[in-house]
Symmetry: C2
Subunit: 703 residues, 2 copies
């Protein structure tokens, strides 16, 4: 069967629209759920307002950044405007802006639904785990459907309108740069509030997590939304777009815009979204069911549907089976990485229990053993990434044997394997957004005085959210790794295209490889290693500084507001002040880390040229993957070790071990929710900056 590329794009757009329609339907469903408790409504409204205020202020800052970046792109990219080709630059700038707008939109939609679903799920928990799960999960699914729908829609539209794969890179760069700052800003906000609330509330005063007396409690719940929902949405929007862009750039360079390879990218991406739609719709839970099982089984359903449908389509349209194979490798390895991540962060497994046990000797042992296990946990994921890159390349390379494009086909294979790993991203986001929603519900149930039983139900939902979250992070970090590898290939072809375009005659500037023994490559590599480390340190120090300000404010309120400590009816904490501190602080700390990553790429590029950038990206991947896995897994592990102790093990709540467990959890918080997950985005942004600036580096570098 043979149909045109346009037909595939139209189908992709159709499925995107379908998913947006389903998102709309789910949103209406969630909104129609009952909510009766006025106290919860009031608090829910606080959270909603806080989240929207933060988002508004954040987007104002980012709009300025975007405007400046768009002007620079217009003048300079892909080639300086004075060298002609004005239209290319205009398209690039427009695509860039389009990327940022869609990314911001994804975050906004997420906040919109999450701040309703939290109230509904809390209310539903009074009726049992089943309705509460459905309210939480469908709230998350709105986000999942909206993010993937818009990303596929965006990529399809950009490619149809511009007819140029490098505009897709511009679109992707827009999405990434916004994600970088949104993730950083949201991550700093959420952990500032979380840590400060815990430190004064739980540790110093011994009151409960969501005690309404705590002035930071609303900020904490706002943080769940702006960090874990909006930030994460922007992040996965970015990963998804980046993997499609990388695949499209490679596919176009192999057989032009109308070839089978481009068709496959759209077909597979559309099938991934379709599979997620079916998976999301199939999510069910028994009356006393296990939410963990419900989340996992719908993920497996999605995976299976994707594998089968892509095989059918490959057969029907006579696509290359080898490319299907590479995609399947990504999917399988992703699942394996998910399972191993689960091993290191699940409280039914030895690592978490050992860390809980070590906590009996004090916090230093919690930190040491958790950190050590997290280091160990990087091994299976790194092996998985290495093996899928090796297999995907070697599976697809023979396709280029005749045309002499062995390496290009191999790289395309790697990009398709990343696409395979991310194919079920709609499902992943739904699961991921479910977490903060039910976390919020727990808080609302407590603040609304719903009683122990309802809180217990919320706790169970929350705990399932934690485990799934660690697993999905493993997925997205690994996929980012593979995407960036294929972006390295894209970078090389961009450089060579640019060299041809500017009629460069010095053939030594053309890139045939990035040789580690070339000192310029090596120079870039070693500098590249430092970037994710410094980037994450800046974010964590931001949290640290900000939390110190907030702790001081909480202390001030407890000291000066009469009756607050004792919980007198008339004593109201000033929630807004805490939200304001978190907002102002995170907006202040949000730009430097991201700017550092971008500027250092530019500096290295102008010092060492494309060769140094090849090394630089590799160094970034090497240390970025290690740190991202280490931090995400350490955070998940410590969180669950604390929960394991709280469940009555190793002395239970209030014991010496528990105090140590809380320290571990506090250290892990910015690890897993601020620094760790921002590193993906950082690596992706750096790769895209490099690809987009390739031509300039080629012409104006020192070495």
């Amino acid at each position: 069967m043979e149909i045109s590329v346009q037909a595939f794009q139209v189908i992709a757009i159709f499925i995107s629209a379908l998913s947006l329609g389903i998102a709309g339907w789910l949103y209406t469903w969630v909104k129609a759920q009952p909510s009766s408790n006025p106290r919860i409504k009031e608090i829910g409204e606080y959270i909603r307002q806080g989240a929207n205020t933060f988002l508004k202020r954040e987007y104002q800052v980012l709009a300025r950044f975007t405007a400046i970046a768009a002007v620079l792109i217009l003048i300079l990219l892909p080639r300086p405007i004075w060298t002609g080709n004005v239209s290319e630059n205009i398209w690039m700038a427009v695509s860039y802006i389009f990327g940022t707008v869609l990314s911001a939109l994804a975050g906004k939609i997420g906040i919109q639904v999450a701040t309703i679903a939290n109230i509904k799920a809390a209310e539903a928990a009074k009726k049992g785990i089943k309705p509460a799960f459905m309210a939480g999960f469908r709230g998350g699914a709105v986000m999942g459907m909206a993010v993937v729908g818009t990303s596929l829609l965006g990529v399809s539209l950009v490619l149809m309108l511009t007819g140029d794969a490098s505009s897709v890179l511009g679109f992707s760069f827009g999405a990434s740069s916004l994600a970088l700052f949104a993730k950083a800003g949201g991550g700093i906000f959420t952990k500032t509030a979380d840590i400060s609330a815990d430190l004064v509330g739980k540790v110093e005063m011994g009151i409960d997590e969501d005690d309404p007396r705590n002035p930071a409690v609303i900020a904490d719940n706002v943080g769940d939304n702006v960090g874990d929902v909006a930030g994460m949405g922007a992040d996965l929007f970015d990963s998804n777009v980046a993997s499609m862009s990388a695949a499209l750039v490679m596919a176009t360079s192999l057989g032009g815009l109308t070839g089978n390879n481009v068709k496959m990218v759209f077909a597979y991406a559309a099938i991934g979204l379709l599979a997620s739609i079916i998976g999301v719709s199939s999510a069910r839970i028994g009356k006393n069911g296990d939410p963990n099982k419900a989340l996992n089984s719908s993920t497996y359903v999605t995976t299976a549907i994707f594998a089968i449908l892509t095989a059918v389509v490959t057969y029907l349209f006579g696509f290359e089976w080898r490319i299907w194979g590479a995609t399947a490798v990504g999917l399988i390895v992703g699942t394996v990485i998910g399972i191993t991540t689960d091993y290191f962060t699940n409280d039914a497994k030895p690592p978490v229990q050992q860390v809980a046990n070590a906590s009996k000797n004090g916090p230093a042992f919690t930190v040491l053993s958790g950190f050590s296990y997290a280091l160990l946990s990087s091994l299976p994921a790194l092996i998985g990434i290495a093996v899928s890159a090796l297999l995907a390349f070697n599976i697809c390379a023979p396709l280029g044997a005749e045309s002499g494009m062995v390496a290009e086909y191999g790289m395309f294979g790697i990009s398709m394997s990343a696409l395979g790993m991310l194919s079920i991203v709609g499902m992943i986001i739904s699961n991921d957004a479910y977490g903060p929603i039910v976390d919020n519900s727990r808080g609302l149930a407590e603040m609304g005085g719903y009683g122990e039983e309802v809180i217990a139900i919320c706790d169970e939902l929350d705990s399932a959210g934690n485990t799934v979250k660690a697993v999905t992070k493993g997925f997205s970090i690994s996929a980012a790794g593979l995407t960036v590898i294929s972006l390295l290939g894209a970078f090389m072809s961009e450089v060579n295209d640019a060299a041809r375009a500017i009629g460069m005659v010095d053939s030594s500037r053309f890139i045939e490889n990035f040789d580690i023994l070339n000192p310029t490559v090596f120079f870039g590599l070693i500098i590249g290693v430092a970037i994710p480390a410094v980037f994450s340190a800046m974010l964590m120090l931001g949290v640290d500084k900000n939390a110190q300000r907030m702790v001081a404010e909480i202390h001030r309120q407890f000291d000066t507001i009469p009756g607050l400590k004792e919980g007198r009816e008339d004593a109201k904490p000033d929630y807004d002040k805490c939200i304001d501190i978190a907002t102002t602080g995170s907006l202040k700390e949000l730009i430097p880390a991201g700017a550092f990553a971008i500027v250092s790429t530019i500096v290295v590029g102008f010092i060492g040229g494309p060769q140094a950038i090849g090394g630089f990206l590799t160094g970034n991947i090497a240390s970025g993957l290690l740190l991202a896995l280490l931090m995400s897994n350490a955070g998940g592990l410590w969180d669950n070790a604390k929960k394991y102790i709280e469940a009555g093990n190793c002395g239970g709540k209030g014991s010496f071990a528990h105090k140590a467990g809380v320290v571990g959890d506090t250290v892990g918080d910015p690890f897993k929710d601020t620094a760790g997950p921002s590193i993906n985005t950082q690596i992706t942004v750096v790769s895209l900056v490099a690809s987009i600036l390739a031509s300039l580096f080629l012409q104006f570098s020192i070495f």
Copy 2:
């Protein structure tokens, strides 16, 4: 002026002998110092016996390992014995054994003098800081002179006798593999004892660091010797030998065994040793002087002498100035790295003070902020390494313009820059060994009841030791990085030599580069990233497990020995039992981590062949440098933050901040004394294994 290579080697041997003579003289001097206190003598004797027992048992284990490795080498390396060339294999095996023996000897000498010097320095502290400093420093200098003397002697002898640079690699591998295990074993021992003693003594019971009631106190002091003296000696012996070997292999491949390049390696190494001899002899301190200044100024003297003398020799013998330049770059960059390391670990600078300040909010903030600053601290060192590699290569590359050996000369430049960085290693070791000696003296002074004033003097000496230690670690990690880069070059030439030797006709197996875009290289790279992480995790989990056993034993003694807690005269703790636990445990945990590093290299080599190994080594360097810098600096920073609080800041001793500071210090202990410094050795060993097995990987790999 023109003299033969042999003459240079004889001069090198002569200077080695001179340094050994001076070591002997210093040893006699130290031994002749007075020691009158019988209680101190008794405790000193305990420490001495404990250290020697451990060393004996450790060497017994390692002798078996060495024997097995030697047989394997005899059969397989450099080429399987059944393919002829028996004599090459015999030389390789003999060189290997020679390397292990000399490395063990270096450790043994260190223990021998350190366990005397500690008593003498404690005694001398009664007379003031000047004599105490001299006793401690000269004790350390014995170690410095002995280690560098034997390493230069060993390399010179091996090359003279075998006339084959790859035998030098065998010698270096012997030194490295012993260092790997000695560092790991000693590191686990020392931190097991240190952490356990602190945890029960300081934290739980609130008694002083070296209170003689604590059953682990002797084990703690033994640990300083076996970990920081013997282990560190083996480590720097290894680094020094590895840098000379890498330079010699490159030099030989450039102009044969008799060329100017080989002469330069010996000349510069000998001058480095000579400069260290002069520097050590020049170390003086005023009557109320600052030990920090004394240590630093003699280091600068050594550096200056080295720079001048090498220039003179280069002029006299008409050596290439470009190579001198590369060496000078290493020396300068090393100094800069030292200074930046000092910034992040010195308590007069913001990072340490900020961490101390953050501790007021609890241990989670100590850990978070310290970890973040340590991540930041990797940046200047990594930039330094990257810049020196880039400069050294580009300075020396033009030398190969005529002969078409541009890359080879560039790599030789990098290896000479590592040699330059390590040139003053004799001085570095003297400074480094001084630390544990005065640390021990402090313990002895306390246990011997010498009173506050003497302890204060020991404390001042100890604190100077800490700062210098962090600086020297920066030096040795960076030098290891550069050495390993040049070993990568050595690996490539080994592979190509082997390919020619076995008459390989398939030219695709020859290596022209390690291309990052080659999936096999990339596969190796990503796996390589995981190795230092897993290796250090295994060591830290070893400490963790072992410390839990020891803590239980300390509790048992305090609970069952009547009057021990109260400090009754007749109540004696069972020191031996604690030493035994530390010994047995560390011997158990010592093999797996080292074996893991070696075996994974072999597995990757047989899967992906030389190309995968190229990537693997690069991944190892990337994550190894990052983790080593991170861990060493974090440990030093936390240690000094705790000391800063103890000096009366942020609430002072016993405050909430102090408790948090102790947690940070405990986390940092295995970071800086077990895992961090072992990573150098691990990277070096992996590189040497790769170079030695190059021929086998070439013939028998899957991909």
